[in-house]
Amino acid sequence: MSISAPVVSAAERVDERKLVEGIQERFGPGVSISRGEGGISISIALHEAGLLPELSKCLFWEMGCSWGGFVAEEHESHWRLSYVFLASRLGWIEVLLHVPSGAHRIPSISSGVHAADWHEREVEDLFGLSFEGHPRLGDFILHDQVWPEGVAPHRKPHRKTMDVQQTHLRHRPNPDWRPLLVVQDPGAFAMPVGPVYEGGIGESLHFLLETVGEDVVRAIPRLFYNFRAVEKIAEGRSVPEGLLLAERFAATSAFAHSMGFASAIERLRNVEVPERAKRLRVVLAELERLRHHTATITDICGSTALAVAASQASIVEEELLRASCAFSGHRYLFGLNKVGGLSRDFGAMALGRLQRSVNEAAERLHVLEDRLYFTSSFLDRLEDAGVVIPEKARDLNLLGPVGRASGQGHDLRQECAYNEYETYEFEVPRESEGDGYARLRVLFQEAYQSARMITQAIDRLEAGPVLVPEDRGSSGVGMGWVEAPNGAALHWVRLDNSGRIERYHAMTPSFNNWLGFHVAVEEFAFQDFPIILATFGLSATECDR
């Protein structure tokens, strides 16, 4: 039931020559273009910081690139700022800016590229850099209500282990703090939701829903209650420890993120993963995607209180979890990825059992889907609820199933293929309505495509090794990308000379999509809030890291 809707996104192939020539023509002497390293195809180094906003805007809007992420690194004498864009089917484009250490003001690009809004806020909170022209800095990761100003915990001198003597790090509630409210109406108030979520079991997130009574005029998200500073912990650790951290910060997409990290190191060290490992990685990644989407479907049915459907979907989820455990030894596929392949191999019987379980799960989902589309009371809650129009989705660069339901066709498996995804037959479903119902349809379709791909990958398996020996010594930069169940995820790693992690930055899809969530929830009634939250299926912990 996937409709090939008109796409308002940049999924068409970008011509490399046109891009390079266009940039050089417009920005001439201010830039120098070269080949990038570690997975980056084109690196555009800027000589003056003032060109940054215009260049970003040009790349995003005129050249048809999409936004990837923003990596800030602190070196001894300078800051290395790397803005990553994706040119569809061409590769990654990096806009590189070096800023001397003393300078703390950098032009903001978020007026042109709105998707970069939260990336810049994150760097400001964690590193203390200030971005000129950004509409709202502060109160992001380190909540102003409890953290004092000026704590930049990701800077080099800051120690990661807690020192009891350093009491200035201890937060204290600030009694004079007031939320920065947007609606100026005498009768307006901001209803607080969370952080201990009132809906039963939920992740810790906090929203201030500004309203004048019935519908939400503006939603102010305050996330990062799950912030554990994974990137800071990873500094100075060895690669296997880093891999463990990458796997564990968002465990419902554990395999995808660990695969992203592993591929970053593999790219750094120029390691070629064996064929069997690539195909098994496809099997496991799609298994995870299938299970993740089933879990989201369960949550959607649960949020509308359609109890039988929620139970049925949770049966499928539990079956998939048990199948994963029987296959790999862990319900959530922990501990499988290694740099250079997988940590263990799988026999034909196990693969056959997995195949059967997956087919059964897909069958069940088909039946459930048919039933759900006949339940008008359920569809009424989803239709026209939490609408994100395609223009907004393009504007905010929404990823994953959420973006695809609003007409965005981004899928790294097609645009920037890895693990030989280009040789598999699959479709990427797209809808254009952008409401909860569209998101539900996309989730079902993607689940079926995942089941299809598992079958294809298992059929192609040939005998061979699953791991190549590691080379521990190299240093450098590597970027790994993966289409996680929630969308495109980037892992950027720099190793120092002793092979330890110097900087690790994970750009996760939930981080990107939360920005779009509060756009979706505005102008809807309070009762729709948990339902829209469930249809987005975002993970606060994946965003918070």
Binding site: G200, E318, R331
Partner: protein
């Protein structure tokens, strides 16, 4: 809409027999490493070295497991020449602390326990496993266990995650808002010992540094049956695990 009723009936009963009978279905638990006798002491040392959180402690050629620190990375199972012994059970709950024995909730709460779940920086897996307790396989309602959204009506506080610094305040407030008698259960390796995150400026290294913990359910994540076992221990219907190898230590690396 009445087809939902028949649809549900058609699918039959899936609920596990636990706690009346043990559940032996494949896939309900990832299992755990247990005390292993290695060929020589180097193998044992290698086993201790490979564990990222220090859950394997070797004396001579014998390696014991501190389950509270185990994060289920499976390296001791897949990456050693001689793999650690593995047991597929799920009754892992450890009760009490150094100071006192564990006391279960009194009689009135045994068949009607209300649980408040707080996510204090969890990775998502432990929370998901707690959510599975509501599915038809485990169905905790039949055992008198219910979830509540407000601490004012809660008897048991179930905490997942290593207690990130931003959640320390809300977690304390939740605990304060609960009326006595109350029990605190730390679910997952992160909640017991900090897991892979340990003790940093943003992570308290386990619930024990913030609240008095009554029960600990190890695993990363503990399967739903293990969490169920923990809840049954809290109400006194099961007793906590007494195995020697299931002792915990404080902070990890």
């Amino acid at each position: 809409m009445s087809f939902w009723f028949w649809h549900g009936l058609k699918n039959g009963i899936r609920t596990t027999q636990y706690p009346v009978m043990p559940d032996l279905t494949v896939g309900v638990t990832p299992g755990r490493p247990v005390k292993t006798l290695f060929a020589n002491s180097q193998e044992a040392e290698r086993a201790s070295g490979i564990c990222p959180t220090g859950a394997i402690v070797s004396h001579g050629n014998e390696s014991a497991v501190l389950l509270g620190n185990c994060v289920h990375c499976q390296r001791c199972r897949t990456s050693l020449p001689q793999a650690m012994d593995w047991r597929e059970d799920y009754e892992w709950t450890i009760g009490g602390s150094d100071q006192k024995e564990f006391e279960a909730l009194p009689g009135a709460y045994v068949r009607s326990t209300h649980i408040m779940v707080v996510d204090a920086g969890d990775c998502g897996a432990c929370l998901r496993e707690v959510k599975q307790l509501n599915n038809p396989f485990y169905n905790m309602h039949r055992l008198g266990l219910f979830l509540t959204a407000t601490p004012r009506a809660a008897d048991v506080l179930l905490v997942v995650g290593p207690v990130s610094e931003n959640m320390r305040g809300p977690l304390l407030k939740t605990y304060e808002a609960m009326p006595t008698p109350k029990k605190v259960i730390a679910v997952g390796a992160c909640a017991i010992s900090g897991g892979v995150f340990g003790h940093t400026f943003m992570s308290a290294g386990g619930v024990g540094s913030v609240l008095p913990v009554d029960l600990k359910v190890p695993g990363d994540p503990p399967p739903p049956l293990a969490i169920l076992h923990g809840l049954l221990v809290a109400t006194g219907r099961k007793s906590p695990s007494r195995e020697e190898s299931v002792a915990t230590v404080g902070a990890s690396a």
